[in-house]
């Protein structure tokens, strides 16, 4: 039988689908019965989703303009 600590240790591999079938089955059975672990699992998945969906750190226009100026200055000369 696997413990909560085992579940937490494998949660990242479980999310990535990297566990063998046996361990995967034990883990999903544990999650069904253990509210704490289920919460950790759900909120970890949600954390990843938030970072993926959010357009974090958009490129500011002035930074983009300076990049293209620098490229034209340094690269066009050599072409």
């Amino acid at each position: 039988l696997i413990t909560c600590k085992d579940v937490i240790n494998e949660i990242s591999n479980y999310l990535d689908g990297e566990l063998d079938e046996d361990l995967k089955r034990h883990l999903s059975e544990h999650l069904k019965k253990c509210d704490d672990c289920q919460v950790i699992f759900d909120t970890t998945r949600k954390t990843i989703e938030l970072y993926c969906n959010g357009e974090l750190y958009p490129l500011p226009d002035p930074v983009r303009d300076r990049l293209h100026q620098a490229l034209r200055r340094n690269c066009q000369r050599t072409t």
Partner: protein, 202 residues
């Protein structure tokens, strides 16, 4: 049917790379347009600082242009410039660390099993109750509380979708070191976000 501007945008990447290698600056600029947002975000994630991120952005594309002839096209152009950008970013960090200006969180750099600190469930869809700028500041503060290599691993794997193997090669880490850092980064971010998003908090 008339050809629209999409034709240029949809131009095959390897065609653009060949044209850029032949000295076509417009083709190179088109490659820059495709990846500048990602490289800037990567720079910010690695260095945690907008000035450094801008330098990483410029140096990455300047170096890419200078060394384009060395790009052998056995990998994606994107992976090649990510490698340049990660190296530039880590170099900046090393310089800063000697000034001791980058704080490293103590709670995540110890090996061994970790126990989540927060067990509370989140309220449903917390992101829908926040302004975009508020959400961004929450996510970026949480990310900044991670040590740079953990943050970089999380960003490359989970946000940019690189494989564990690619991430390991880029950062000169073993696959198991990448997995360990990813695990800890995910749990740490989850803990940080739980403080803000747990039920009963507004």
């Amino acid at each position: 049917m008339r050809e629209g501007p999409q034709t240029v945008l949809a131009k095959d990447e390897s065609t653009l790379v060949s044209e850029a290698k032949a000295g076509n600056f417009a083709a190179f600029e088109e490659l820059v347009n495709r990846y500048e947002k990602k490289i800037y975000r990567l720079g910010l994630n690695v260095t945690g600082n907008p000035e450094d991120a801008e330098e990483v952005l410029q140096e990455t594309f300047l170096k890419a242009f200078q060394h384009l002839a060395n790009f052998r096209e056995d990998s994606r152009f994107y992976t090649w410039i990510v490698r340049i950008a990660v190296n530039e970013g880590l170099m900046k960090l090393r310089k800063r660390r000697s000034d001791k200006s980058v704080p490293i969180a103590d709670d995540v750099d110890e090996e061994g099993s970790i126990i989540p600190r927060e067990f509370a469930d989140w309220r449903p869809n917390p992101e829908q109750q926040l302004a975009q700028s508020e959400l961004e500041s929450i996510l970026s503060n949480a990310a900044r509380s991670l040590p740079p290599t953990f943050r970089t691993v999380f960003f490359l794997r989970d946000v940019e979708g690189l494989s564990t193997q690619e991430t390991a090669e880029l950062l000169n880490l073993t696959v198991s070191a990448v997995k360990a850092r990813l695990f800890r980064a995910r749990l740490h971010l989850r803990d940080e976000l739980t403080k803000v998003f747990k039920r009963g908090e507004t």
